[in-house]
């Protein structure tokens, strides 16, 4: 192989040399080369070692899935040499060798191949005791590139894009489709995975002056210049998802393209013939040889033998001749030539054409092709080994057939059926908005491809309501069969490869079928055909033909396997996201930070867990906050609570239908606890309802429930059509809870309103001004002290906070965080929905039966609760006290309660109460254990049992005197 004089349309830039290194040897290529083409230009023929037998391999298809040329490039494993542009100072190593390409010490495996048939691993290495040893051995023997765990993180941009028509594949038919759709008025994006557009029109040529080349180039230019066409090369359409959603993968980014219609013009994969030695470096597909010639100006060989079964093979032979390559012979699998004119031309130039002949064997010398051995076909399609003819050559060019590159069509939901005339699969009915043209559509002749592309482009535009002036052209029928129905030949010594990724030979298929794996999906899994990196692009069609022959079925009945995304391997860096997580902050966030808050995540909210105090540790700081609330006054930001307004004539009736309690009898200016259950009667949320007026309610939900509760209420009223409006004001309103015996003193300093017990009693709600800020003030007692929940517009929150902190400074006001609040409510025995309840807890079990008013006409969950009320309860939420001892600090939430060796409950909350001086908690227990005074055993993380005692909650101020009637300051 050597570089030729410049060829028209070549992709390389001869003014820019690129030096690179393969396994320590320095080579030079040109800008525009792929790694493979540069190596071919430098006469390197062995590009890789095969996966299983470590056989030398060279160029096979040069169609971006030559998996036997995978390289390690610094920390990048499994770089595809035929698809990767050459870059300066690349240092490359072949994967899967021990000692390099030429000296691979695992070459011996090739001689062991008769002892390593398909299924050998399944049968030989399943022993449980020895398996780890075998696994280690095989992992070392086989495998691909090395993953570096110290690689720097690569950030890969993700983009979104939109178009009317996405054309996938910029070959003759795709270009034609893009122009037709764009001329009809569509905004078109056309992508191609290759560095340049043109597809087969850039290489399936006879000589440099083939009009196919000129006409393709003309269409590339027209696409590039068309105002409504965006032509993107080096871009792989990696999959086809629902509603025309296609990931477009480039080297350094991924674009998520939403198209209104998709034209799939992905062409066809040329398929190898199966004969002994069909993997010897020097044996290559005709399309590979012609890509080397026309794109990279590399002579693929000096003396070629051509194995043809279609017109493409003859054209390739003439093309080689046109570039000064000696063609020693053409063997045609057919009895009559696939191309009469070309056959006559070859004959006139003295080149022997052997009709009805195949290749019996390709023989290597020093790892590369030395001879092709031809043999005539017998009437049953086998080769006559008695009449062989040996021809010396360094290249064997194979052109016996194609398989449609239908991966994306399958993913889009198309059905394919086998066309006996073409001897390959073609698309049947296509899903709406998906179109196919060119070779993937079974259209091969150049003129026909142009017409088929135009038709598909017009149909795609028409599907979008765009109408072109002219009618769609008629696509002429194929006059010549592009694929041979069975280019597969057995040989007594094997080494006739079907799958080049996985080193599967013809006999492996016979063995698999004999063992009962005679369905295409079973065959695939047993032999691993099509499961290597090329995903069957070289092998699936032949595997289907072989299975059909072995089982005596028609190919249509055998079918194909599923083609899953991605079309080519996609680096994980392209798929990895940025770890984007929403985090919300309340309007008081800057105040918390200024006060040294230690923040925690509660749902999406960043909330103060506690406020750090110099000289105090976490627990110390939390205890100080608790004691401040109990003894003087504390202030907590509760703006994360869900806040919803319901107003209208049916507002009260609506609340009665969605919550378990009664609200119609509330007087304006009062509040009430509210509990929400689902249809099964399970607790899902709770909060406080304030009646602001006859038809006006304002209520809170849990922090985590705000979005879903609001959404569910709107859904229910969509059905019920009650006369009320529901507004979510969670983000609009801020809220703080001012709590402690001195809370009223603080508040009185900031308002002219009468705060006396008579005017503003426990559970009242008032709209008044605090520090000049209009506020809704709810007098509630979640933490068990005199408390005011003050709700203001979010933009007044900081002013309110500052005023309260200043007014309370003399009284020792302290901000307190989520941890202190949890402890304070635990001392009061108040449950937290989602912590002390779970997805099965009903109100009776949680001790909130008092909040359920069964005598209402209807509420969500009522009927289920009526059933549950009749049944004995399964569990009960009760207070527990840990018996003082060493292990009390090891008891944590979710630890199990064990009774007679069985699970009998769990701890839902537990903490040390600084107010009471002991560990307290809540536990969900089996009813038999739930009696006050009962001793229970809690199993902590290390398995030890810790004793606790069931007690009556609340633990603190059991009759609620402090929150209802605080002593006067």
């Amino acid at each position: 192989m050597k570089r030729l004089a410049p060829i028209r349309g070549e992709w390389i830039d001869r003014s820019r040399s690129v030096a690179f290194e393969l396994e320590g040897r320095i080579h030079t290529g040109f800008a525009g080369d792929t790694i493979t083409s540069a190596l071919c230009g430098a006469d390197v023929r062995v590009l890789g070692r095969s996966f299983k037998y470590h056989r030398p391999r060279g160029v096979l298809s040069l169609a971006n899935h030559d998996v036997n040329a995978l390289l390690q490039w610094n920390d990048r494993p499994n770089v595809r040499a035929d698809a990767t542009p050459l870059a300066d100072e690349m240092r490359l190593f072949a994967v899967n060798t021990d000692g390099g390409l030429d000296q691979d010490r695992r070459r011996f495996l090739d001689r062991l191949s008769p002892f390593l048939p398909v299924g050998f691993y399944y049968k030989a290495f399943h022993d449980r005791r020895w398996f780890p040893r075998w696994e280690a051995m095989f992992r070392a023997l086989t495998g691909l590139g090395r993953v570096s765990v110290t690689t720097e993180r690569r950030r890969t941009p993700k983009r979104y894009d939109f178009c009317d028509v996405l054309v996938i594949g910029a070959g003759p038919s795709g270009l034609s489709a893009a122009l037709a759709a764009a001329d009809a008025g569509a905004r078109v994006v056309i992508v191609d995975e290759n560095a340049r557009a043109g597809g087969s029109g850039t290489y399936a040529l006879v000589g440099d002056d083939d009009p196919v080349g000129a006409r393709t180039r003309d269409r590339v230019v027209r696409c590039a210049e068309h105002p409504r066409v965006s032509l993107r090369t080096g871009t792989v359409a990696a999959g086809c998802y629902a509603d025309h959603w296609v990931p477009l993968v480039e080297r350094d980014r991924i674009t998520k393209m939403r198209a209104r219609a998709v034209v799939i013009a992905t062409g066809a994969f040329e398929q190898p013939a199966v004969f002994r030695g069909n993997d010897v470096p020097g044996v290559m597909l005709a399309s590979a040889a012609q890509r080397l010639l026309h794109r990279y100006a590399v002579a693929p060989m000096t003396r070629a033998v051509v194995l043809a079964a279609n017109r493409d093979g003859y054209r390739a032979a003439l093309d080689l001749l046109a570039h000064g390559i000696d063609v020693a012979a053409v063997a045609d699998l057919n009895e009559s030539p696939a191309d009469d004119a070309a056959c006559r031309e070859l004959a006139s130039r003295g080149i022997p054409v052997r009709l009805g002949h195949g290749v019996y064997e390709a023989r290597a010398g020093h790892d590369v092709l030395r001879d092709a051995v031809l043999a005539p076909l017998t009437p049953d399609g086998a080769l006559n080994a008695a009449r062989t003819e040996r021809i010396g050559c360094d290249g064997l060019v194979v052109s016996v057939g194609w398989a449609p590159a239908a991966n994306l069509l399958y993913q889009a939901g198309a059905r394919m059926h086998y066309d006996e005339l073409l001897a390959q699969f073609v698309p049947g009915a296509l899903p709406p908005g998906v179109f196919a043209c060119g070779r993937v559509n079974g259209v091969y002749a150049f003129e026909a491809k142009l017409a088929d592309g135009e038709r598909a482009g017009l149909e795609a535009a028409g599907a979008l309501g765009l109408r072109a002036a002219g009618a769609a052209p008629l696509v002429p029928a194929e006059v010549q069969r592009p694929s041979h129905p069975y280019p597969i030949f057995s040989h007594p010594k094997g080494k006739n490869f079907v799958d080049f990724d996985e080193d599967l030979q013809l006999q492996d298929f016979a063995n698999a079928v004999q063992e009962g794996f005679d369905n295409i999906e079973l065959l695939k899994r047993y032999t691993t055909v099509g499961m290597g990196p090329s995903q069957g692009k070289h092998s699936n069609m032949n595997a289907v033909r072989i299975l059909a022959r072995l089982t005596g079925q028609p190919i249509e009945a055998v079918g194909t396997t599923t083609a899953r995304p991605f079309f080519h391997p996609v680096p994980l860096a392209h798929l990895a996201g940025r770890g984007f997580t929403v985090e919300r902050e309340t309007p008081l966030h800057s105040r918390h930070e200024a006060l040294g808050a230690v923040l925690m995540l509660a749902g999406h909210w960043r909330r103060p867990e506690y406020y750090a105090v110099p000289g105090s540790r976490r627990l110390g700081a939390i205890r100080e906050e608790v004691l401040a609330v109990r003894n003087s006054v504390g202030l907590i930001d509760v703006g994360t609570l869900g806040k919803i307004e319901v107003s209208g004539p049916d507002a009260a009736a609506f609340l009665e239908r969605v919550y378990t309690g009664r609200f119609a009898n509330m007087s304006p200016g009062s509040t009430r606890y509210c509990l929400m259950v689902d249809e099964a009667g399970t607790i899902i949320d709770d909060g406080v309802v304030a009646r602001l007026g006859d038809q006006r309610f304002y209520f809170t939900t849990t922090t985590s429930g705000s979005a879903t509760v609001y959404r569910e209420l709107t859904r229910l009223n969509t059905m019920w059509r009650m006369q009320c409006g529901i507004v979510n004001v969670t983000g609009h309103r801020a809220a703080v809870n001012l709590a402690g015996p001195k809370a009223r003193d603080v508040l009185s300093r900031l308002t002219r309103s009468d705060m006396s017990e008579a005017v503003f009693p426990y559970l009242a709600a008032r709209e008044l001004e605090v520090a000049g800020i209009p506020a809704r003030v709810l007098r509630i007692g979640f933490v068990g002290e005199l408390g005011y929940e003050i709700h203001v517009a979010h933009d007044r929150a900081s002013s309110l906070w500052d005023a309260l902190m200043e007014a309370g400074s003399e009284l020792g006001i302290r901000p307190f965080g989520v941890e202190a609040q949890r402890l304070l409510r635990l001392e009061k025995g108040h449950l937290i929905v989602g912590q002390d309840t779970d997805g099965l807890t009903n109100p009776f079990e949680a001790g909130c039966g008092w909040a359920v008013k069964m005598d209402k006409p209807f509420f969500v969950g009522q009927r289920s609760l009526a059933i549950l009320a009749k049944k004995p309860s399964r569990q009960a939420l009760v207070g527990i006290e840990l018996v003082p001892g060493e292990a009390v600090d090891r008891v944590a939430e979710c630890h199990l309660v064990i009774e007679a060796g069985e699970i009998a409950g769990r701890v839902t909350s537990v903490a040390f109460s600084p107010t009471l001086g002991r560990h307290i908690g809540l536990a969900m227990l089996a009813p038999a254990l739930a009696e006050p005074g009962r001793q229970i055993a809690i199993r902590v993380t290390d398995g030890a049992l810790v004793t606790a005692k069931v007690v009556r909650a609340p633990f603190y101020d059991a009759d609620g005197r402090r929150q209802k009637l605080a002593e006067a300051a």
Partner: protein, 85 residues
């Protein structure tokens, strides 16, 4: 990513929506037996076919009905509650 047609906002990516289950008529709570009620609350018909489902376009809060063929994962039509007939 699939597109879903919100009856108010038009076609939007499915990530903007939440699904809230099949629409099933609630039996009269006063008349249903305990067993009938439990069947309504807990049992779902998972057979593939055309289902009427609740969907919500979250950014705009629009609840609507989607008729979806779960065998083909194809949305046949969408409409606001009460407008289907």
């Amino acid at each position: 990513m699939k597109l879903l047609h919100c009856p108010v906002n038009g076609p939007r990516p499915v990530s903007e929506f939440v699904y809230w289950g099949e629409i099933r008529p609630m039996p009269d709570p006063a008349r249903a037996s305990d067993a009938e009620w439990a069947d309504y609350v807990f049992n779902r018909d998972a057979a593939a076919g055309v289902k009427r489902e609740w969907w919500c376009h979250v950014p705009s809060g629009v609840w609507f009905v989607a008729e979806r063929d779960t065998a083909r994962d194809a949305v046949l039509r969408t409409y606001l509650w009460g407008e289907g007939a």
